[in-house]
Symmetry: C2
Subunit: 583 residues, 2 copies
């Protein structure tokens, strides 16, 4: 199943035979999922040696290009070495404009079941002609689709019942004069049904389509082997029946979200009402039970990280590897009976590995962690019965340079900047992004990723619409207004190629601040409870307010974790990590 | 011509006769101008007693509503008293949603020559049926259209020739596969042709349409009495011929900007390519000569304001009125031979008048300026052969309260916040807005207007696309990326109803800061040279960097203005105003 250069020759025969100039393989599934199951991931992996989570692969008759974003520039250029595949750095260059259009690579084949409609339209509007071809049959030893059962969430875990969520959707459909809503995004479906699955690693979703209609019934399309219970108000059909069903219901005015549906499905609906699925915002706004449970499991997650911190410092002389530490952290997390998975592959990276924004250690590549390195950057999270976490800490393990101390302090200032912002209703992530980035920008630095993103509830670690970016990205429906109940993770950093990487990340809950004559003001409540390493801060560039913020935060962390600790040694360790600092 | 209640009865007869439920009068002309000539303004003024620059008037068979934005809430509620017309506060409520749709006022008449296409589509998409009716014939003693001649700008005033500008447009048209560009926005036309006019007070534009096409020729439609010279490469036609011309050229693929064209004109073009006019961005980016000239005339403007400052303090005991001071400032400005007009009606306001964001004193209403008031707020600007200015200073004239000192200091901090921002390419006003507003938001305050807007070059004082807002405003094409050469005016403030108003405003030129591996960074160069009153600052809430910024700024102001001053008394006064401050 692994990439071989010969695979490119195999696919080129079909490209030639079908009179195409190229073939485009996206990292995608039929549901526009960001992370996809191994079944779908194998399509790209069969034709390119790249382990990142996001890339497009274009194969022409004599060349091949893999395009990926700033998180993966360094990693991709390493992994693609010797493959004959050229790296296209999205953001600095563009696969579409600089490769396809410039070289007039037209027409191009791609699977209409695997491209979402918004991408399809963007490409065709640019004059790129796409032809529906599925060459995935070429993959040998393809992993099979998951047969894991889906499971109902306990009632204590959701504020709203399925019935209440459906009624919310009916109401929203009425407002846009739609009679039905075709939902293809897996996290939305899981959220509406208060059900979770195990089809995609770290993402507790299940492959399915959901059709919601007050007048025409609610219909779930899913591999029948995976579900062994009924859901009231929902008719259950085999997964593949969606196409026939849509064909039969194509004239019903149907709300459909171009960002979240394949071209294949989109084209089946005749009477389309374009718009965001009501479940998109509904899912993003966490209500009472979701917030309470999340805070509870965030404390469990914090405890795991404090144990990990202690373990790290006690074992530093043993020359364990990044992967060892990554496994140990997983063990600490899973020791809580509420934790059932990680929320993404743990990033545990020292030195220059940490400069690769999304590096994960593997069996083949895992560096030694010891005090010859300045830092161990750990970005990790858990899936709990009670919420999803996403936290980064940069642990000081060696002797920091002046430059490192400076950059670490800037990163913390950026986190504090956003965390302490008070903002007026109608603000979005674009409004607030600079409160983090200004510290880097002043010095000519920038981190090549968003400042933050929404976090799911027992769901995907990346969620919209509460994205934090400093520019407008058309076709991305992630610049929604911030409203109380949204959980955003904020993760500024400094990355210096071949030197080090620093990131500090907390999850922030949007809550009301106050209401005045001038409007409703909101603020953030930090709900990640993990000590922040204070040993390499340059207090001379921190304001009194920033130092106070850090001390207050550590007081909160101590209060949240103390009740969970039953041994004095760990309690002493926590106290030491969270003690007040002074200039 | 002035409003009388009877006028509403007159128009209602026609509403009834034409079987309409209401009639909508916008503050508009056929060119989507923000400020319109007295000829067009008279339409709204005949039916409503409101003197602000922006409002919509809806007249139904038994009611009438005037809707306006936050700048005018207080002013409008005063002026409408006793008129029988209800005020709709846009932002807090909506004429369309809360009045028209809620009361099912349908269909509504309006002039398709006076509504721009984007507004027309927004209304009709909401289900509001509009019928093309022009009832302006009802206006008695209507002012006539201007017959003022247009004039060519001296070559020293423009970096690019008309030919070069046309060629830029041809290139941009090629990129979007358009063969022609219909331009209706008056400032764009003036900018492309390096010509100015006198049709709208303070806005040196002339009523016209411009059709640009490499293949079909360039055609200017203008009242022939107003132009007495030829323009190479441009065919000149009578103004009203545009409709016949478009009819004859309707099948040519024509780029047209929905934001900037009337529904009447838009509907005449058959083969439309929707998009921003190339001249929109071209006009916003000031090149070498524009920047040099603007800096030169900004110093002249600064000198006028220093003279004004001195005059104000020397005459405070004389109980002169706001209007007296407004006239005096005009006199100081126009004493420069380069100044040929104001760029907008001067706002000169004490105390509670200053709390009305866009109050201007009139013969009927002008308060006394003396030391019983804390402040005189003056927002003003000039049209010069060399640029356009827009500056606000809040002059301390009485004894400030603690609250006033605090709010004045916040306002300055907000101005410094934006002025000292370093930002990465692709940033826009939305990215940076919070660098001003954060100081007010922290305390539950907000100013109900944008933080800033583009400023024209010997043109309209309001220009896009470099608007500064904290939220997304659909249908407004003013959130363009900031690029070097753009001039933005930044005007944060604090407004306390019935108490006082504070605003400090500078014009900022976007310039390159530095380029690093992480990208191109930009910053702002302040090009307004007017001392900022330092007598009511709370230095305990200002950072060292902020105090340094202010001292550096005053050093610059002193350097810029000193060469223009030939009397020692004024020089001493300037030195005093710009002397360093210390904690």
């Amino acid at each position: 199943m692994l990439f071989k250069k010969e695979h490119l020759d195999e696919i080129r025969e079909y490209i030639k035979k079908d009179n195409l100039k190229g073939y485009l393989i996206l990292t995608s599934d039929p549901h526009s999922s960001e992370y996809v199951s191994s079944y779908y991931l194998s399509f790209r992996n069969y034709f390119a040696p790249f382990s990142g989570s996001a890339a497009k692969l274009l194969i022409t008759l004599d060349k091949a290009y893999l395009s990926t974003d700033g998180r993966y520039y360094i990693q991709a250029s390493k992994e693609l070495e010797g493959s004959g595949i050229s790296l296209v750095k999205e953001g600095l260059e563009s696969l579409e404009d600089d490769i396809i259009l410039k070289n007039n690579i037209n027409p191009i084949g791609t699977s209409f079941n695997l491209i979402n409609e918004i991408d399809y339209e963007r490409l065709t509007n640019k004059g790129i002609k796409l032809v529906d071809k599925d060459y995935s049959f070429l993959i040998k030893d393809r992993p099979s689709l998951s047969k894991e059962k889906v499971f109902k969430l306990d009632e204590s875990l959701n504020t709203l019942s399925v019935k209440e969520k459906l009624e919310y959707i009916y109401k929203k459909l009425d407002e846009v004069k739609a009679k039905a809503n075709l939902i293809s995004s897996l996290d939305d479906i899981a959220s509406i049904l208060n059900i979770r699955g195990k089809d995609i690693p770290c993402n507790p979703v299940f492959y399915s389509y959901l059709y919601v209609s007050k007048d025409y019934g609610n219909h779930l399309f899913i591999d029948l082997d995976k579900i062994d219970f009924e859901i009231s108000d929902i008719n259950i059909h085999p997964y593949d029946d969606i196409f026939k069903f849509l064909e039969e219901h194509k004239d019903i005015p149907t709300l459909v979200d171009k960002n979240k549906v394949s071209t294949k499905v989109y084209s089946l609906i005749n009477n389309k009402i374009n718009g965001s699925n009501p479940s998109y915002l509904l899912k993003a706004i966490k209500l009472e039970k979701e917030v309470q449970n999340t805070k509870k499991i965030q404390a469990l997650d914090g405890l795991a990280l404090v144990k990990f911190h202690k373990y790290l410092h006690e074992n530093l002389s043993k020359n364990l590897s990044e992967l060892d530490y990554s496994n140990k952290l997983k063990e600490f997390r899973l020791s809580s009976p509420l934790c059932f998975d990680l929320s993404f592959n743990t990033i545990a990276a020292v030195g220059k590995n940490a400069a690769l924004m999304h590096y994960s250690p593997t069996l083949e590549h895992s560096s030694i962690v010891n005090d010859k390195e300045i830092e161990l950057l750990v970005d990790s999270g858990g899936q709990y019965y009670g919420g999803t976490t996403d936290t980064t800490r940069t642990f000081l393990i060696g002797t920091p340079s002046k430059e490192f101390i400076h950059d670490y302090t800037l990163t913390l200032k950026a986190l504090i900047g956003v965390s302490s912002t008070i903002f007026l209703e109608n603000s979005d992530g674009h409004t607030i992004d600079i409160r983090a980035r200004e510290f880097m920008w002043k010095e000519g630095m920038d981190y090549k990723c968003g400042t933050g993103h929404g976090v799911g509830y027992i769901l995907n670690v990346h969620e919209g619409p509460n994205g934090f970016r400093y520019y407008v990205s058309k076709d991305r429906d992630d610049q929604g207004k911030l409203v109380p109940g949204m959980i955003t993770t904020i993760e500024p950093g400094v990355y210096k190629e071949n030197k080090y990487g620093i990131r500090i990340e907390n999850n922030l809950l949007c809550v009301p601040a106050f209401t005045t004559n001038d409007g409703k003001f909101y603020k953030f409540e930090t709900i990640t409870y993990v000590p922040i390493d204070t040993k390499c801060l340059d207090l001379t560039i921190m304001s009194d307010e920033e130092i106070k913020w850090l001390n207050d935060y550590h007081k909160l962390v101590n209060e949240k974790l103390t009740p969970l600790i039953d041994n004095q040694e760990l309690k002493d360790y926590l106290d030491e990590l969270t003690k007040e600092i002074h200039r």
